[in-house]
């Protein structure tokens, strides 16, 4: 039994299917997430695949600040992700709303709507920082 559990933790840590959802931001973060998938950084060597489908997702990368319209979409998406799941907020907008924090249509960072596990600062964070962010959240799968 112990071995099965050990194997499960190992598999969860080695196989992370990801989806990124860009909310109201400048889109720079999703470009950097795309760049992290490509040969120079290659997220797939950690078993990270871009699925683009919430039902297959383990890691949700959220970029951009939450506004009154995409709040519902974000909640809806997260409800469709089966547990265990990891939610990573990428970029200043997803952390606090950043430079748009005072704009009339902005509620704030992603943590206003969902429980974020890892915050990756940067405007936008470099692909290396995205990798760091995902890897530092892996402890969540230990339980």
């Amino acid at each position: 039994m112990g071995m099965m559990k050990h194997l499960m933790v190992r598999s969860r840590r080695r196989s992370l299917w990801m989806m990124h959802f860009c909310l109201g931001g400048c889109n720079g973060c999703s470009i950097e997430i795309m760049a992290a998938l490509t040969p120079m950084y290659d997220l797939e060597r950690f078993g990270i695949l871009n699925t683009g489908n919430p039902k297959h997702t383990d890691v949700l990368l959220v970029g951009g600040s939450v506004n009154h319209r995409n709040r519902r979409t974000l909640k809806n998406l997260i409800d469709q992700i089966p547990a265990p799941r990891l939610i990573v907020a990428v970029g200043t907008c997803a952390l606090t709303g950043g430079i748009f924090n005072e704009a009339y249509n902005i509620i704030g960072g992603a943590n206003r709507v969902v429980d974020v596990d890892v915050y990756v600062p940067g405007c936008p964070p470099k692909p290396e920082a995205v990798i760091d962010g995902i890897l530092s959240g892996l402890d969540k799968f230990e339980q």
Partner: protein
Amino acid sequence: MNLAKLWVPAAAVIAAPVFGGLIAGIDRKISARLQGRYGPPILQPFYDLYKLFGKDPLAVNRWQPFFAAMYLFGAAASVAWLALGGDLLVLFFLTTFTVGFLVLGASCVPSPFSRAGAGRELLQALVYEPVLILVFAAIFQQTGRWDAAGVWRQGGVLLAQTPLLYLCLFLVLVIKLRKSPFDFSASPHAHQELVRGVLTEYSGPFLAMVELGHWYETALLLMICALFWSSVPGSAILVAATVAGLIFVDNLFPRLTWRWMMARIWLPLPGLALLNLIWLMV
């Protein structure tokens, strides 16, 4: 038939997914290298599968898990039947049923992506099923046997007389394994208009069952390929070359459309196979 013979299909049922998973892992690693990337570890598909079994079971309705299980069962039964040396015609019907369950599972949910994917899966079946039956007919024509065990025992390089037919079988493999020019019903990569087509609504353990079924299908089709050079080293070479060809084809083409497939592949493919069959008969 005595019970002692049953260990062969039992071993095949256990070994086939290991084989199919390894093929998937090697495929992903080599594809990554061809794209200039480091790529995932070879065992990556097994991690994926095991993880999926550990996810929360979220089923859309109660039919979905049933159809996923039936798909898995059908694929495993086909492998067992072939390993038992069973009749190829029965195998043909078994594979058809297997695909049917996948289509049913995809169309029992209200998602438009999944339903459109199911429609495309049916169209694909329309394209490759005639070729499969022609392949079996050609095997019979050449060896005089309908049962796989007899064909294997007869030995010989079937490929020498059936190059065109093997080409058609290769295209069937490209369609069945959802490789690039024909990955419309479900693509292993994202960035498809139908998200992941027939697989869109499956999640967690049910997706794992479908994946496992897909590995069985991979193993089954490669076993049929192996019949074309029925000796152990020969079939190994043939299967390796076929897999290498699949990986290259996957990386060489963009996804085409099913309309293109129906226009350009649907009739020529069985035509080519038939040509080969006629040549065998003459």
